[in-house]
Point group: C2
Chain length 258, copies 2
């Protein structure tokens, strides 16, 4: 598959960007490497004169940018999300160097939509955002000064992605994960079922439930569910619910019979 | 040799930088990758508030920056200069991708001072600057939009250099080229000798002389002269001059004798 076609399947998602100049510089960085699809989740200011100035001719990237209100919206249709990790944290996702991660992204992009997800300048990705990534990418930096500018990080990953695309072969990736919104529906289904069967209940704190769901999310984010697997898992959830409904009806019937 | 020690032998030379913000962003980019030695040849504005703002904490790099009036000053003591090439031009120097070039730079930096040379934003390196580079580095970009920001280019090369340093072994480089100023003295000696022997003369246009010297410079830049080789070449030049002086004296003597 031609490099250009692969890059067309890649979106760069910037979440809650604070400085409008960074959005423009990121657009320029993307375009120099042949990337064109920018998604902005709740940018503080957009459009903005400083953004345009910093884009330096990458106006088309800004004009075609998709401004989203939620992470779900930004990841609609995305089969693989790689998150930019700025600091060492206690996260369970796998962390790769750009040189190891971008071939995986490129390979998936030969077939499906993929996303590079960048958090806000000061604090990086939120836990909610982290849980949606299949893996993290960490740029090797000076341990004494790791203050990489957002647009510089976009530049480095775009560069590595462009190089990775030159190497990518025509082989289909071994896995074809379901798009993000299908995975989300599974999680909603799972959570409601866990409530229904009492594995999660009102005695548990909200914090406990959230923590548990995060752990499950990470597990399945790593596994990268395909559509068929989601269908099976949701089938199991539905069967569980149906069985309970039947059991309840039966037990009600029995009560009536008595 | 430790990565930090290798990086300490690398200077980033920015020539005639127009936008003060780029100097700050370049300093930040350098520091994130462990580089600290910034040289500025005739920057339009330095120091400047915008530079400091864009440096975002890399103030020490700015404070220690060496402002130079000439290229000679900036390359004083440098054994290897790699030039950043922004566009395809009719140049005879070898051009490498960053991934291939930075291991060469790192290897040399285990033993000697090296420089990464970046031209002015709009037009890149001048012919004079090009002629001082042992080879060029070209970042692979989107052929339809190659407008890489100066600081972004510094970021990419610094990143590749940091990665290259992780791979560098303790082996001394096979070649130990003479510092730039020694090479310059050789060229001055060569040019004056060429005038003396009439290979260059007043009948030639200044353009012709400049062009010829550029070709010779490129040849020797590629060869990367060691100190001993310079001594030999200058010895030959001196001998040529002495022989002519002797010959003239003799011929004058003969004239006197007649």
């Amino acid at each position: 598959m031609h490099q250009t076609n692969v890059l067309a399947n890649v979106r760069v998602v910037l979440s809650h960007t604070t400085h409008p100049g960074n959005i423009g510089a990121a657009a320029r960085a993307m375009k120099t490497m042949g990337l064109s699809r920018l998604y902005l989740i709740n940018p503080r200011l957009f459009p903005d004169a400083q953004t345009t100035a910093m884009a330096a001719g990458a106006d088309d990237v800004l004009e075609n940018a998709v401004v989203c209100a939620t992470l779900d919206e930004a990841l609609q249709g995305v089969a693989l999300t790689a998150g930019m990790s700025a600091r060492v944290r206690d996260i369970s996702q796998e962390v790769f160097a750009p040189r190891d991660a971008m071939p995986l992204v490129a390979q998936q992009a030969t077939q499906q939509e993929v996303a590079l997800l960048f958090g806000t300048e000061m604090s990086g990705l939120t836990n909610e955002e982290l849980a949606r990534c299949q893996f993290m990418v960490r740029i090797p930096v000076n341990p004494e000064y790791s203050s990489l500018n957002l647009a510089a990080a976009v530049q480095l990953l775009s560069y590595e992605l462009r190089l990775a695309c030159e190497q990518v072969d025509d082989l289909a990736p071994t896995l074809l994960p379901a798009p993000a919104e299908q995975v989300e529906r599974f999680f909603q289904h799972l959570e409601s079922t866990l409530h229904e069967v009492g594995f999660l209940n009102d005695h548990h704190s909200a914090k406990h439930s959230t923590k548990l769901m995060h752990k499950l999310r990470r597990l399945y984010a790593r596994a990268r569910l395909e559509q068929e697997e989601i269908n099976i898992l949701r089938g199991i959830l539905s069967a569980t619910t149906s069985a309970r409904v039947a059991l309840k009806a039966e037990s009600k019937g029995q009560v009536g019979d008595v």
